[in-house]
Symmetry: C2
Subunit: 615 residues, 2 copies
Amino acid sequence: MSRSLFPYIMSEEEFYNSSDSIRSGSVLRYVREATLTEPLRLLCGQELPEVTIAYETYGSLDESKSNAILICHALSGDSHVASHDEQDDPGWWDILIGPGKYIDTNKYYVICPNALGGCRGTTGPDSINPKTGIRYGMDFPQITIEDIVEVQRRLVHDVLGIEHLLAVVGGSLGGQMALIWGTSLSQYVDAIVAVATSAHLTSQALAFDIVARNAIVSDPQFHKGQYYDKGNGPATGLAIARMLGHITYLSLESMKKKFGSARNCDNRDNTSFETRFSVGSYLAHQGHKFVERFDANSYLSLSLAIDMFDLGETKEDLAAAFRKSQCRWLFLSFSSDWLFPPFQSREMVNAALAEDRQVSYCNIESDCGHDAFLLANEADQYGTMIGSFLENTLQTSRTHQGTPLSLPNELDDQEPPKKHRIDLDNILRLIPEKSRILDLGCGKGDLLVRLRESGHDHLVGLELNEHYVLRCVEKGLNVVHADLDDGLAAFSDRQFDYVVLSKTLQTVRKVELVLEEMLRVGRQAIVSFPNLGYKKFREELEERGRAPHTDPRPKSQWYNTNDVRFLTISDFHDLCESKGWKIHRQVALDTEENHVIETNPNLNADVVIVVLSKD
Amino acid sequence: MSRSLFPYIMSEEEFYNSSDSIRSGSVLRYVREATLTEPLRLLCGQELPEVTIAYETYGSLDESKSNAILICHALSGDSHVASHDEQDDPGWWDILIGPGKYIDTNKYYVICPNALGGCRGTTGPDSINPKTGIRYGMDFPQITIEDIVEVQRRLVHDVLGIEHLLAVVGGSLGGQMALIWGTSLSQYVDAIVAVATSAHLTSQALAFDIVARNAIVSDPQFHKGQYYDKGNGPATGLAIARMLGHITYLSLESMKKKFGSARNCDNRDNTSFETRFSVGSYLAHQGHKFVERFDANSYLSLSLAIDMFDLGETKEDLAAAFRKSQCRWLFLSFSSDWLFPPFQSREMVNAALAEDRQVSYCNIESDCGHDAFLLANEADQYGTMIGSFLENTLQTSRTHQGTPLSLPNELDDQEPPKKHRIDLDNILRLIPEKSRILDLGCGKGDLLVRLRESGHDHLVGLELNEHYVLRCVEKGLNVVHADLDDGLAAFSDRQFDYVVLSKTLQTVRKVELVLEEMLRVGRQAIVSFPNLGYKKFREELEERGRAPHTDPRPKSQWYNTNDVRFLTISDFHDLCESKGWKIHRQVALDTEENHVIETNPNLNADVVIVVLSKD
């Protein structure tokens, strides 16, 4: 197929796909095969007597066998997650994995197996059924994500002799595998990175899969799955399935970028697919290449496994799934992913939060849709996040194992020296030892780090700014990317001893909602805010006739400040009184002079800290 | 197919679809047929020698033939837009059209033809080709929306003898027809209502159509389109196309509501389609019913017409399309419609605005996706909007024709008597006669109505609140549903004499952007806002130690007001000075005492009006 058919710039993923057919075969040098010693009992009750697993590894296993990371691939992926050397074919996650990369193979031992049910070396529907001597086809039993993971577990434990994984990392279908590791097998893994995935598909995503499978099985060349010795197989149906898939992997925005400026395809090749529109020639190409490298029965088998995956339908079911999990979690979603929309990651994060699990989450701003996790566009952001999370996991894990290592502080060195925060000193003083603390609008994690240094170990931060979330992850904090104005539905009543809202109240739109939620999920709330009643603010208005300047950041003005709520200490008291909230403590501060204000705080304090509760 | 297969509540649209097969045939009593007297020359260059058009009409044409409204149907629709009597089958837009309904057939003469290329009475691919004596099949020439509209025009002019239409109303594909009427044939129509449509499909929507057509033409039963005497035809391919279509007509939210609580289908009927999941049984049903009532070649023909429709790719092309339009426009989109996303309506609205056309727009909040325009859920909102728009058009049209009728003022009577607005008095006084005026944050249209009463006739309002937009449409104003923080990109430099921001500045987040945009698109900007420097506000802070209360609405407090910017007159002057903006006039007011303030306005005025420009 001539290049001139494609009036668009190739993405990483396309490059990967298009390079398939010209693969030199060099990749095969690195694929290893293992055979499971025991038959595999599947969740459906059936048994696979013989299972072969194809996998590749990168880097070296350290002496204590504590640096192994399992990578799980998506629907059309395979074991070739990264190139092994400069001559090797590119891997599907080359942007992330390799020497000196975010998942640094100089440091970690990376294992990537082909999934059970696949068609790239591991046993699947195109394997010979030992009972019949012919390929399974549709006789291949219906596998589940749990079955795929069980094969991975045997590879890790029995074949590679690794007792415990440092982490399991996966996106999409691979993310579902990681979810099973983290919920059902968490005793064998320190950390899970679940990218662009969900506890169960949306009805919309499910519907696309159903239409795709229909296209395959209703292709006359399907022959009830026994097409292997009958010509081309269901090439048309599989291509339609793949074309549909591709639409869902991209986003409205990314399709506009790819095709918007060259809507009509000038090169109308006489293919069986439509080439009137450039998006049509692109899809035709994707469908065509896919048919060459993928088995239709594997597509049916794996896509049904995805569709049947269900970690829990209700909030309660989901929470139960996370209840027994002992590992750390990092969830990542992408803002324009509509196949696995961000709210689905958030549902799982909420379940983990409700069960007091160690969890971080970021919804990466991206216009690349579901494909974003395979592309370089946002790799700086999510790659750094994954890398920091794994590094922290490694350090923590070694510390636990009696091999203490100093935490790298180079990151903190990058931050400019900070003004001493008397407000944070006082918030720290208000909190008794070993408290459970939720910090709303935690910023770069300054307060959380100080709380951790003070011995508190049950800490969660919420932060709206994606870049601040990254800084928190770098510091090894549990941080969740969230908008306070959406409330705190994730948390149950009295889940925390203290909920802190430090210098953030004035930036919130839904003040009543946020305060009510704080008082619901915390035994007590600690709120600090700039006091509009401060004498210098009063003077500003009274004498200079200017609006008080409560936002201390250098370039902030009335027309660009993030502060959208203006209140004095008395205003806050009025609200508490009208709501029946009880104020337990109040610490008024002059943060310019760095001292506590005792008399007439509404006039003399520029910042106040209030401790309150519902009763 | 048994009802027990469907564990969901039927929507209007489903009811319509499912009732197809049991149609009593009574509908046929009302379908009329006409034959065009001249051959139809198509845009592609080919000619259709004979064209039959099937249509239905409702209500009576008045003596002056000024009350005719043409309704244009969507891809799978037909001429039966509404039921003709109680015994009749339901029509596809029964919620909107009928005696006493939003499009009141006691008042209007409604005409609904089946589209050229369709399969419900009007000439299409299943018609006999007079040249060969057999059905056209794929020999049916490729038609365009323009061709469909030309047939409609001949029906209206030549068959029905109506010179001029009051309005053309259509959604989706029907909306594209309405767009052609309004841009190329606007001399024949007073008003266009374009619902859930676009100037051209997104690449995503186009991609779905391409996959759908692929499924049809690659079905072995397609026989290159000549399947009419060869069994079932491409039933599988057409069903796949329809299933795909249905996913795109719904939304993530509406699918969740339909299927989320009953994901797994307990009744596994042995159909050719998957029934493991309830969404699968739903789609299978939709696909199956559609095959019974729709011709695959019509699907190909009409869907390709949709795909090829392009009113203009660039902003300039689109503007050119609207430049010659002489009619009024109402655009409606639905917030969860991802097939024809709201931004696409907004693109056309922007083009019409750039060309000073009379245009209103509302993005109706709905979770029903593209289907929303056919459903009852939001009908109160968009039905009222369409009804008011048509009523206003009728009144204006009759006034122009020398049959003056008093405008109904019952709507205004419903509003409570208002406090006299001295600020509006003064804004009015600042604006010379016959000015071009843009009112940002126009609310319910109070200022615009007063400007209209003062003789200004070039008025546009922008408003964020959907319900206020409706009130403006009811008053016959040109209003566009928009968020000021998104800027004013629709408008060209100096398009208006005055851009007014009346008591809205304090609610805007991006103050600099909004002011800069005002000064770009207007010769001068008129800005009014509450002055935080007002003595009572100062006293509030200085003496009572409370944040000033600039928002006069009764229940507003510091924690719930829409006011998020606080400034004094001096603050505003400072900003103007730093930007180099020139202040031409300033009117300071005491709106409590209803008088103009002459001395020390920063202390004595509670509201100020400033007239400024860039130079």
